[in-house]
């Protein structure tokens, strides 16, 4: 077990942009292999929190520890990605002029240096791994298509597949079902549940029925801090949460 018994430990994180506190003394602990849903109204600080964890934004104060004792606040995006934190953006972000296969191949763990990448030849176990990943996200038959030609939902899955290929210990997934059909949403919930357990997954989502489908512990963010935490039924019954959601 790690120092905090957790994969991610955020304590007292504060980020302010020109006086506006996007995160206000935020503390959050994610256990190893845990899946957590993060909800909250617009401007609650969900995306900023992900930016802090992945090294895109530096907080003014606080502590962010990954695994046993890795300080995230002294590292940049590339280093943090290599440590084993994968991030899915809100809008699907895949390499459109590459094939689905190449998208996953590029995300495969290892071989990140310039010279390494120049001389790298695809190993049989890598090929097998790509097939596994494509199978997991249901795109095995789409390998030869250009990512640009995929549907919106398929792009979201491909991006999740790319995260898996990175073999992270922690996945940050920002609004995975935005713009998806009901069937796609249900499929995405199943996909994320399959992934959780071996890897910790943090899902930021607006879609309440999707969060209910995930059936995991929920953290409600409001004005940059944690408002409530617990099972969805419990937090959605809390008067403060109702006020935040309905008061707007």
């Amino acid at each position: 077990m790690s120092r905090h018994g957790s994969i991610l430990y955020l304590d007292g994180i504060t980020v302010s942009f020109d006086g506006f506190k996007a995160l206000n003394n935020l503390s959050l602990i994610i256990g190893e292999g845990e899946m957590r849903a993060i909800i909250g109204p617009n401007g609650a600080g969900k995306t900023t929190m992900m930016d802090v964890i992945t090294g895109k934004t530096r907080p003014q104060s606080g502590e962010a520890v990954f695994g046993a004792a890795v300080d995230l606040l002294t590292r940049d995006e590339t280093e943090i990605a290599r440590l084993g934190i994968g991030r899915k953006f809100q809008r699907p972000s895949v390499f459109e002029s590459h094939t689905v296969w190449d998208n996953v191949e590029l995300a495969l763990a290892g071989h990140r240096g310039v010279a390494e990448a120049l001389f790298h030849r695809l190993a049989p176990q890598e090929k097998q791994r790509i097939e596994e990943v494509l199978d997991t996200v249901g795109l095995l038959s789409q390998g030869r298509r250009l990512a640009a030609h995929l549907s919106h939902g398929q792009k979201q899955w491909l991006e999740i597949g790319m995260l898996l290929a990175q073999e992270p210990q922690l996945l940050l997934v920002d609004e995975p079902v935005a713009g998806m059909t009901d069937d796609e949403t249900a499929e995405t919930a199943r996909l994320l549940k399959r992934i959780a357990g071996s890897k910790a997954v943090v899902v930021v989502e607006h879609d309440m029925s999707f969060v209910r489908e995930l059936g995991v512990k929920v953290t409600v963010l409001h004005e940059g801090a944690v408002l409530a935490e617990g099972p969805l039924e419990q937090v959605s019954a809390e008067p403060r949460v109702i006020e935040v959601y309905l008061g707007r």
Partner: protein, 372 residues
């Protein structure tokens, strides 16, 4: 696409034999004879083709729109020009065995330290690659690390070439000022005016172009090449899956600058002069137009673009001297509006849209052996 670059490389290597042969071995009165003036002219087009290919690596594949590639070309050209100047020796107007004419004219007594070594071909050749490469490396190191991208990067590359233009115009820089370097006599002991030397320079240009084409074909097909395209399409995604985007860009930009320098070095002995005009910002923009017209992000496109646009320039500037800039501008607008993927890119799209059965057998598509 990758087969197309093999065919192109073969054609270019064929030209390396054919053009010198038709120039030197076929008598002037025969129809197939290539006149003497045409050999260095074609050589010049191919130097521009190398330059466009170099820009394509940075821009077409890695998304770095450099509007200052003319600077690397000119620096390579100056390095070669310095060698050619020192080859003149005492045959200059002032017959000074060491100092080039313009230095004697400026009353300089000694050769500046940075002209040392340029009497040796190997040293000059090294500088042809090292000077542009080092400048691109240092420039790129700061720019990419600070995440300067898009139009901002383009603007500072323009500023870079403009700054060099002003610097090289100055007489006390020691590069011949406004007049640049010219009146070359020979290269490696061969007279630079001799048809045989010009044919050899043409052949050398062809060989370099073909070699670069094959080298880029290999790079582009490698995983690194795919990472470059990834950087071009979604830079932050690439960063968040753990690539050092700035290293990838630095590699593409520096290699591209070295290629541009070599193109400049081949250009100078064939046109017989290098002057600060080569640093003009407009020159660098023209390179972008050649590449866009031919098709950026394809390897054969920039070559076709550079040769056709420059052949057009030769024709128009002779037939309708006032029209050329208008034609060039119109060409760029038309390509941007109607052929955004350039000549080769558009043709490739048409071919890809043809029904499967129309194509002979199983055509290798965008996906290489990976998925087989």
């Amino acid at each position: 696409m990758s087969r197309l670059s093999l065919i192109a490389a073969a054609i270019i290597l064929g030209l390396a034999l054919l053009v010198p042969l038709l120039n030197l071995a076929v008598p002037a009165e025969q129809a197939f004879h290539i006149p003497d003036y045409l050999v260095p002219l074609l050589g010049k087009y191919l130097c521009f083709a190398i330059l466009a290919l170099a820009l394509d690596l940075a821009w077409g594949y890695c998304g770095i729109l450099s509007l200052g590639h003319g600077a690397f070309f000119a620096l390579g050209g100056y390095a070669m020009g310095m060698y050619l100047m020192r080859q003149i020796g005492s045959r200059g107007v002032y017959a000074n065995p060491v100092l080039p004419d313009f230095m004697v004219f400026l009353n300089w007594k000694e050769l500046p330290w940075y002209w040392y070594g340029f009497d040796m071909f190997w040293f000059a050749s090294l500088m042809v690659m090292l000077v542009p490469g080092l400048l691109a490396f240092v420039f790129g190191w700061f720019a990419f690390r600070s995440r300067v991208t898009g139009v901002y990067l383009s603007i500072i590359t323009q500023a870079l070439t403009y700054a060099l233009l002003l610097a090289f115009f100055r007489n006390d820089m020691g590069f011949g000022g406004n007049n640049g370097l010219t009146d070359f006599k020979d290269i490696l002991g061969f007279s630079i005016q001799a048809p045989s030397t010009r044919a050899a320079l043409f052949a050398a240009t062809c060989i370099v172009l073909a070699a670069f084409l094959l080298m880029l074909r290999w790079i582009v097909a490698s995983r690194l090449g795919k990472v470059m395209v990834a950087v071009r399409d979604a830079e932050s995604r690439t960063r968040f899956i753990g690539y050092r985007v700035e290293h990838v860009k630095l590699f593409a930009f520096t290699l591209s600058a070295v290629m541009a320098g070599i193109a400049g070095a081949l250009y100078v002995p064939q046109v017989g002069i290098i002057n600060p005009g080569e640093f003009a910002p407009a020159n660098s923009i023209e390179i972008v137009i050649w590449t866009a017209v031919g098709g950026r992000g394809t390897l054969v496109g920039p070559i076709i673009g550079a040769v056709t646009v420059n052949a057009g320039k030769t024709y128009f500037t002779a037939a309708f001297p006032d029209m050329w800039l208008l034609v060039l501008g119109a060409l760029f607008i038309c390509v941007t509006l109607f052929l955004p993927r350039g000549i080769v890119g558009t043709l490739a799209d048409w071919l890809a849209r043809l029904p499967r059965k129309a194509k002979a057998g199983k055509t290798p598509t965008a996906l290489p052996e990976a998925a087989e």
